[in-house]
């Protein structure tokens, strides 16, 4: 029998940067159906776009035959998003801090920082090919 407390939506996208539009459309619709408010939805959709872009660009090197895998786990009170790529992974600690004055004017390097700022929690698996992000519904929301 189906669990009554969570629903899992899975999505595999070919690793083309164009697919970010589809990802954007999907995450916004999921957030709408979950009754997330608009402001929180903007934060979550940004984090999902950043994670998806990293999987497509850095993980899968835009090889269309490789897929970026998304799992959206819809709970009554929170959304968990798991993004996995088919690449070599990376070490979170080795990524430069975009807020370091030396990096402020760089044209890249802000994605992970924004994901962590927008979500309640962001965790990476050891090899760096899976990122798991959680966002709770604001308490003021109707449940």
């Amino acid at each position: 029998m189906g669990s009554t407390t969570e629903q899992i939506i899975r999505l595999d996208l070919p690793s083309s940067i164009q697919q970010v539009y589809l990802l954007d459309t999907i995450i916004l619709e999921i957030l709408k159906e979950m009754d997330f408010d608009e402001e929180t939805s903007e934060l979550v959709s940004l984090a999902v776009i950043e994670a998806g872009t990293n999987a497509i660009k850095h993980g899968n090197k835009e090889d269309w035959s490789k897929h970026a895998h998304f799992e959206f786990i819809v709970h009554p009170d929170k959304l968990t998003v798991v993004v996995q790529d088919e690449g070599k992974g990376f070490e979170r600690e080795e990524v430069a801090d975009p807020l370091d004055p030396a990096n402020l004017l760089k044209s890249s390097g802000r994605g992970l920082f924004l994901m962590e700022a927008c979500m309640d929690s962001v965790t990476y698996n050891k090899s760096g090919t899976i990122v798991t992000m959680v966002k709770h519904k604001p308490l003021s929301d109707k449940q």
């Binding site: 940067i17 903007e42 934060l43 776009i49 402020l104 004017l105 802000r110 924004l114």
Partner: protein, 118 residues
């Protein structure tokens, strides 16, 4: 994302509309680069009208930062008109508040190119 280009009193105004996500940042980069290339030395004056932009991702923000650098190299200035949506907060979070001049009024923004620069 759609971009319209206008010239007014020596300032190139880019009216950007929609979400700047995914491959939009590369498209935006190409458009800005072309305008900077076309500008006379010392006159790369660019105003990004962001009034109708609802959302920018980190790549889009990165392109705006890169434009800042490119324009300064050429001799000129970039300013933002009505940064709305999530751009305002991205600029704050990324500690770029002191980097970008922002305006709410187009006339004021255009005039600024003749006060602070040259």
């Amino acid at each position: 994302m759609t971009v319209d280009i206008r010239k007014q009193e020596g300032v190139t105004i880019l009216d950007i509309e929609g979400r700047i996500i995914g491959s939009d940042s590369l498209a935006l980069k190409n458009i800005i680069d072309e305008q900077v290339d076309d500008a006379k030395e010392g006159n790369a004056n660019i105003l990004l009208n962001l009034a109708d932009v609802r959302m920018v991702d980190s790549s889009g923000l990165g392109i705006i930062v890169a434009s800042y650098t490119a324009v300064r190299k050429k001799g000129g200035r970039i300013a933002l008109l009505q940064p709305g949506g999530n751009i305002r907060s991205l600029i704050v979070m990324a500690k770029l508040v002191t980097v970008f001049d922002r305006y709410e009024d187009e006339g004021e923004a255009i005039a600024s190119f003749y006060k602070s620069n040259n």
